[in-house]
């Protein structure tokens, strides 16, 4: 019985502690993917780098909170947030109706359209669902791009990959006829190495139903205080020029 009492007291103490922490947020754990260059990736020293990471650091500085980062596979990134492995996701996650059922989002912090990429010698010029019939198209799993392809390109063969890099590698290897992904990601990839194989084709895709309202920060439902803090910080770094500086570091064009 004594053991039970000890556990019960420890539990109460813990509840009191976390309750106190809730009142004034001082520490935020941020989940990100770490395999989505140039937005978030691990450098050669194994440290997280990229646009998302710089934005996150700027937001934390603005909010005057201490932030720690957790790298998490994309497939499990929302479940891990719900399991309280971290408090917010800053990982280029698009704000979509489907995801809003599970998590809350802040305002967007950037938007870039989705585009198709094909090998340079490809004869594909029309990327409509009808024209892509019978073609093999790749995308990263659990993404807006995967959902869009699965729902609208029913006559194409859709291949889904754990990371964007793997889909890119398979396009370069000739296993895919095309991939659909975020244009900023693809632009970065096509600058060097494998990526030289390929070119953009077709229009920008930004239908809100599938591609959402841009990338936002996801928090657990009901954590309005944290969400509001992020929203204020996003507005602040947009206004004070910090955002523009980070934007310029990665892209020659505005991504907001």
């Amino acid at each position: 019985m004594k053991l039970f009492r000890t556990i019960a007291i420890a539990g109460l103490a813990l509840a009191a502690l976390t309750g106190a922490a809730m009142a004034d947020i001082t520490k935020v754990r941020i989940g990100t993917e770490g395999a989505y260059p140039p937005f978030n990736y691990l450098d050669s020293a194994g440290k997280l780098q990229g646009f998302d990471i710089d934005i996150a650091k700027a937001l934390c500085a603005e909010m005057k909170v201490e932030c720690t980062f957790v790298a998490q596979d994309w497939d499990g990134i929302i479940p891990a947030l719900l399991a309280k492995k971290y408090d917010a996701i800053i990982a280029s996650m698009s704000i979509t109706a489907e995801r809003k059922k599970k998590v809350d989002f802040t305002d967007k912090y950037y938007t870039t359209p989705a585009k198709f990429v094909v090998p340079k010698d490809s004869k594909i010029t029309d990327v409509s669902a009808a024209a892509m019939k019978g073609k093999t198209i790749g995308a990263q799993s659990s993404t807006i791009h995967a959902n869009f392809l699965n729902d609208l390109y029913k006559d194409s063969s859709i291949k889904l990959y754990g990371t964007q890099d793997e889909a890119n590698a398979d396009l370069a290897a000739g296993r895919l006829d095309a991939i659909l992904a975020d244009s900023a990601i693809l632009l970065e990839w096509m600058k060097k190495g494998d990526g030289l194989c390929c070119k953009f084709v077709g229009p920008d895709f930004n239908d809100v139903k599938y591609f959402g309202e841009g990338a936002g920060i996801a928090v657990r439902k009901g954590e309005d205080e944290l969400r509001e803090k992020f929203n204020k910080a996003i507005a602040a770094i947009l206004a004070n020029g910090v955002y523009e500086k980070i934007n310029k570091k990665y892209f020659p064009f505005s991504v907001y």
Binding site: D75, I78, A172
Partner: protein
Amino acid sequence: MDFDLLIKYGPKLLSGLLVTLQLVSTSIVLGAIISLPIALMRLSKNRIINGIAYSYVYFFRGSPLLAQLFLIYYGAGQMRPLLQDMGIWWMFREAYYCAIFVFTLNTAAYQAEILRGSIQSVDKGQWEAAQTMGMKYWPTFFKIIMPQALISSLRPYGNEIILMIKGSAIASVVTIFDLMGETKLAFSRTFDFQVFLWAAVLYLVMVETLRITWEKMERRLTRHLRQVSDQ
């Protein structure tokens, strides 16, 4: 229980189950064919022949299946011009064939060891008895030794198939929609952990069916070894 989930994704899970069964059965059968010469090489007294077979088994048993699949799938992608010249790119282009290729080589290594162990476990007296009857080496091997070896390897074979069924979930990382692939897809649309539970149940059903079949098979094949009072 969420019946909407079952209605929407149940058929997909079942089609994934079919892919898993195809993958596993094809690999196990092809692996069994390859494993016989490897096992014989392992039994050889020639050190070079034995060494080659040993290295093969050592590599495939000593490294993770996931690493082997990645190596072949993405490695082949990088060596496409060479493979095209050799005329075998069509095989390495398809994730499905890559998975069968890797699974076959992997299970062949395990099966070869099972076979070698069970051949060695047959009593020396059986060889000697066959010899006194004037039987030659190969007829003795195939008609006297192998049938007895196969009986004692039945159980380890069953274990190997079970390991393959579970190991085949790895195919989902190279875009194959096997049971695990369909499960992950359903999860990514619903974020409902139930789909993993259903997938686990399906894996369990496969393994349990196999286990019961194996037990029946073993009882029947070893009936001559039992005492009358046991039956």
